[in-house]
């Protein structure tokens, strides 16, 4: 869900960016972080905790807490709340410990 109308801010339409989340195609927009694009597409569960497998979403959105970690283009533990979305990114949920 994106903001359509706002009394103070202007959100102009931006260039769409195609990427993949767990092998599923998702569209985000230029200027989005990965977490923001996923959230806008209705995806709140980013990963699962290592031991108890509890679902994880983002919490702080500024890089403080580590709750938004995902594997991006093969690299684990990427903070998706800070990482800007790029065309063709492969974004995958983390479920197991990284060796």
């Amino acid at each position: 869900m994106r903001i359509k109308q706002h009394p103070i801010l202007d959100f102009e339409p931006k260039r769409p960016i195609l990427f993949r989340y767990n092998n599923q195609e998702v569209i985000g927009y230029e200027g989005d972080t990965i977490a923001a694009a996923l959230h806008a597409a209705g995806i709140k569960v980013l990963s699962f905790s290592m031991v108890e497998k509890r679902p994880r979403g983002f919490y702080c959105a500024i890089g403080n807490c580590g709750s938004c970690h995902m594997t991006v283009n093969g690299v684990p533990n990427v903070k998706t709340c800070l990482t800007m979305l790029e065309e063709g990114m492969e974004v995958v949920s983390m479920e197991t410990k990284v060796k």
Binding site: I3, H6, H39, A40, P55, R56, G57, A61
Partner: protein, 364 residues
């Protein structure tokens, strides 16, 4: 290893203002911020600020940030700005380690101003890790920077100014705020902000907190509970509210980690939000030539962050023999402004906190 005269860590209002006065005094400055833009908390603030006219009250936060950033444009020959750059370590020999896009670096400046701001506290309750539960700052970032809604129906936990302001911003963005919960018997924030919400029909439930969140993969509803005068849950007072997001605004805590790492003298003062550094009148810490300004010295407001930044910038420059032409006059002015900002009933908590910090310094 890189060198610079003055390194400022954090480009919020405190760091930006510190850069300005240090540059005016003639220093050479490197300003780093881990974010991809300058402005700190201010860039998310769409509301008109409270505080004193001198620190841009009645101006929207994001406009204040723009103003502080443009003020630095004249000095590009002596100012280096590094964005997406996080300070990872601060050592006693004043070496700072940084990372920018996977590249590690070391900087050895003559003086440092730490202006890292504060981070949001979280709250302990059952299932507080469910997706859909966010800090108030995260909700603001999502809405006001990326134009994305956190949910359709939300409950806010905390009625301090941040909880009240973010609730209002949520409504402006088209979200339904079902209630604001406040554990204390009274509303924490300013009356103007609370009245605005009440006029829009948002109930502010005092002596009430969230007991648990419920949902399989994402938050679906919460259970609230009333608290008695000893902050104990009153049995039988539980109630359910359906939500697709919950926003937690229970206060901020100074981002002290870099200071603690360098073994700078610190003190826990609850009124100031947590661990804060002991500072001299010039905002210098116990480590020579390491200064601090803004929320990292104790959680306050943008207005005081700006003034502290100005003082720290001047004094750090002075330490390197860069004397601002009007140093004495403006220092005196800034010190008076700080006193004024902290006067009156609203400044009581800060005055108490600073008093405790001082007492401790004499003992320590």
């Amino acid at each position: 290893m890189r060198t610079t005269e003055l390194l400022i860590i954090g480009g919020g209002p405190a760091g930006l203002m510190a850069a300005k006065t240090a540059l005016e005094a003639g220093a050479q400055v490197t300003l780093i911020d881990r974010n991809n833009r300058l402005g700190g908390q201010l860039i998310k603030q769409t509301h008109k600020f409270f505080g004193s006219e001198k620190q841009y009250a009645k101006t929207r936060g994001l406009t204040i940030a723009e103003k502080l950033i443009t003020d630095l444009e004249d000095y590009h020959d002596r100012l280096k700005i590094c964005l997406n750059t996080t300070a990872l370590g601060l050592y006693r020999d004043r070496v700072v380690t940084t990372v920018c896009n996977d590249t590690y670096d070391k900087i050895h400046p003559q003086a440092i101003i730490v202006a890292t701001g504060a981070f949001e506290k979280c709250l302990a309750f059952e299932n507080n890790d469910l997706p859909g539960i966010y800090g108030a700052g995260a909700v603001q970032t999502l809405m006001n920077l990326y134009g994305v809604l956190p949910g359709k129906e939300i409950v806010m936990v905390g009625s301090g100014n941040i909880g009240l302001i973010v609730s209002y911003q949520l409504i402006q963005a088209g979200v339904r705020v079902k209630a604001v919960l406040e554990a204390a018997p009274v509303i924490g924030g300013y009356k103007v902000h609370a009245s605005k919400l009440r006029r829009l029909g948002v109930p502010i439930l005092t002596s009430t907190t969230v007991q648990k969140a419920i949902g399989s993969l994402e938050i679906e509803k919460i259970v609230t509970v009333k608290l008695d005068s000893n902050w104990q849950a009153i049995e039988g007072s539980e109630a359910e509210i359906y939500v697709d997001a919950l926003c937690v605004a229970v206060g901020l805590s100074p981002m002290h980690q870099l200071l603690s790492m360098a073994d700078i003298q610190m003190c826990y003062v609850s009124e100031l939000g947590g661990l804060v550094p002991h500072v001299s009148e010039d905002y210098e810490t116990s480590l020579d030539s390491v200064f601090v300004a803004g929320d990292v010295t104790g959680v306050e407001e943008a207005s005081s962050a700006i003034v502290e930044g100005a003082i720290a910038g001047l004094m750090a420059a002075k330490k390197m023999n860069h004397l601002h032409p009007e140093a004495d006059r403006i220092l005196c002015e800034y010190r008076t402004q700080l006193d004024n900002l902290r006067s009156g009933p609203c400044g009581c908590k800060i005055r108490n906190g600073l008093g405790k910090l001082k007492e401790n310094q004499h003992v320590g």
